[in-house]
Point group: C3
Amino acid sequence: MFILNTWYIAAWGSEIADKPLGRRICNEPIVFFRDQSTGKVAALEDKCCHRAAPLSMGVVVEAGLQCGYHGVVHDCSGRCVHIPGQEKIPARAKVRAYPVVEKNEFVWVWMGAPELADESRIVDYPYNDDHANWPHHKGFYHIKANYMLMVDNLMDLTHLGYVHGSTIGGNPQTHVQALMDVKKTDDSLSYVRWMLNSIPPPTYLAAVPFKGRVDRWQEFDFAPPSNVLQWSGAVDAGTGAREHGNRTGGFSLRIFHGLTPETESTCFYFYAPANGYRQDDPVATKELMEHISHAFLEDKLICEGQQQRIDELGEKGLIDIVSDVTRVQLRRIIQRMGDRERLQGEAAPAARPAVPEASAAAS
Amino acid sequence: MFILNTWYIAAWGSEIADKPLGRRICNEPIVFFRDQSTGKVAALEDKCCHRAAPLSMGVVVEAGLQCGYHGVVHDCSGRCVHIPGQEKIPARAKVRAYPVVEKNEFVWVWMGAPELADESRIVDYPYNDDHANWPHHKGFYHIKANYMLMVDNLMDLTHLGYVHGSTIGGNPQTHVQALMDVKKTDDSLSYVRWMLNSIPPPTYLAAVPFKGRVDRWQEFDFAPPSNVLQWSGAVDAGTGAREHGNRTGGFSLRIFHGLTPETESTCFYFYAPANGYRQDDPVATKELMEHISHAFLEDKLICEGQQQRIDELGEKGLIDIVSDVTRVQLRRIIQRMGDRERLQGEAAPAARPAVPEASAAAS
Amino acid sequence: MFILNTWYIAAWGSEIADKPLGRRICNEPIVFFRDQSTGKVAALEDKCCHRAAPLSMGVVVEAGLQCGYHGVVHDCSGRCVHIPGQEKIPARAKVRAYPVVEKNEFVWVWMGAPELADESRIVDYPYNDDHANWPHHKGFYHIKANYMLMVDNLMDLTHLGYVHGSTIGGNPQTHVQALMDVKKTDDSLSYVRWMLNSIPPPTYLAAVPFKGRVDRWQEFDFAPPSNVLQWSGAVDAGTGAREHGNRTGGFSLRIFHGLTPETESTCFYFYAPANGYRQDDPVATKELMEHISHAFLEDKLICEGQQQRIDELGEKGLIDIVSDVTRVQLRRIIQRMGDRERLQGEAAPAARPAVPEASAAAS
């Protein structure tokens, strides 16, 4: 059961250039392509209305996306606009189109009822556009686990000491003892963690030559159902970062975490680690990416192991521990979103006509 | 649901030498081997009557096929003829045998009721035996798609311009505008296409130094349910190839296309491209093979993509277009063959005894 | 359906050093690890009681096995003994523990009701500990076949001539004509085969420079449900090995065969070939291992082929032959073990509490 009336990251904008990109989202095969005249990204059901060939095997042409089999062309709205050797195009020659927005280097897709797609609900992440102050890399993993296991992962940072000891984690006890300040509403959640007077972890030390202990923070904002905005960093201990807010002169890292369901048991992980400490140094940004990608591969592996057990044995009998508080709250937010969607019956794509205008006519 | 009372190509004759060959046809595991004394190919259920080991893991011996596990031997009729250490052989020690005919370099197998197997119904293809005038290569692909998707492919040649632009296709519009002459009966179908005064496609140009435009033809004969005989070629435009029938001095290519169901969603593609323009030049034949194999790999990929979508989403809602006419007619022929077979109840292999003579006794 | 109230080999002791080992037995995911203080092997359900991460991805610590995700620690009894950042540990924070015994270099696990686990029922195999007289190697194969197909294999040695002609088999007829003496009770079976005045097979000849024919024996003891103790060898023909019992001065080989169900259609094969003829020569032991591993790979392949056919087509219609006598008797023993277990209702792990002491309290 997926939450459909929401925006998911479908791709990095740079993944969609002159060729179409096929990607499964919420278990629907979708093709993304960039309109030749407008440069805008479109998203269609990845199945030609003629003989079901994947449109992602086709080519982008002026009028839209040309099927690679017999040359049928669909435009950005999913309407068939050209059939080779045939003047008349049947009205039902069309495929479903999905609302798409490109913003902050991400391509966002709306999986639910098109008439509910509200671009203003897409989370703002200007750092991806601020290459001078926040140079970043475009991270991507395919994860063989439900996206919620990866969101869980970001809500309980005590895992850093056990999973990422050699990079961004450091001493486990430091994480367990962190000061944790959580703010939540019915549909949002954020937290700040401070590890005052702590030993900087390997990734921080590799980036900044701290002389001793640091005051270290982690700020996490959850944008439901599956995006997390992170700001982490550290400055020399005792310089008042927490009390006075001065957080410059040390290590500083932003990461956007976007999890997108592919199937019930797989997801895509889009992540953007941005260097906030030596912005002029591409090597520093590259090294940061390598540390983060190494760490996130560790997350991937543990969540995939978790998924295997849950697939086979279920979650019954598992116990919650103290550090699960934020994770449990987040699960409740997602649960409420799903319940609300199902109650409103908004998200029944099978019952909806295939193209936006027909859908609008029916509503 | 397979059509069983028909002949399918099981292998190239050259694939079956001194070792047995295991191959699944119509979802039945079969072992093919060549009798040591007669040199004839036999086909048995690929499962030893003793402990179910695949007979294709065995060795050919004088008396038949010896199981590689405990040495039990079955002869070409499927009868067990030797049990090590045991004189008496139980009457029920046997496996199903399939009628087999080797003809025109192909090994044909009959999957239905043995008493209905009529060798005269195997399509004639003498070109495979005429190595002087039609030197050819032995093509083979395993395709992850139902065989009908591959037969469809051969019935709508407008795909050539979109799928095979770099080899045998050429300009898409040329194909869309081709003159198409179809002949059909209740159980056969053939067509001739002419592309007069057209630009020769890359494969033709690589073979023959045409100076300009050509008159190009494609003759296709469908031998139900799954074989297609092709003759294609081109001569200099305006030399009367269509009106007067003179088709020498240019490019000429024959291909036998044999599709054989492996499972409901996979098949084998046997194809024999024969060089009809520089018969004395093995390099020309080899180059032709490379062009054709490249092109047919493109067909394989697009049909496999199609199969994936159909497996997941079905064919409901797809539209037929003008160029589908021949394909739709062919599907009707296959449909009628299947309906007829099911009505006659001829094709119930599970209900039939395992060996021909027992089967004959029961009828 | 597995026999659970029995001991299976889970691993070679040497496989479990400082890291945990995950292995599926009777379709249950289990983690094995060596307690740091006692050096004893423990076996737990391979699923953390917190968030279901596989414990086999964790690390061994002083108190037990620490989960690699959030640091929860379980001890050897399956009880959770540490939750980071939390003093109180809920009573239900535990995972199932399995009785384990390390004996004769093997780690044995009891898959059934813990209160029935009786260490004295583990078969004795002192040869594995007698490195001076029986130097051996630690063999291991993962087999894609039900363990019973592999036990079958060991009960009908006529396969040696067909499957292992180039190593331990030799002439097929020799095996078919072997003198076979079987002893059986309701729950055990052993046999001795003699091939008097026979030609030694390649493996024997590679090991010992026999001048001519040999008197060759094979003694097999079946320890239900899935272990077989083998002693094979040969001395110069006519020197009275059979009548007077003198079996020294020739070739002598012991093998322990342990088959352990992984799933219904896969198993593990632990085998220990021991050199009883040139004990001081490590090269001889190594060469023997290579011959045996080559031969057992042949068994693996044929049994995997058999499993594929049985999976698809079942065993109905198969015939038993003379050489199946011992195999059929062995199947009956296993069948009786299973029936007895099901009748007693002892083997209902789902209905049993997760940890031994709770289980004991409930009984």
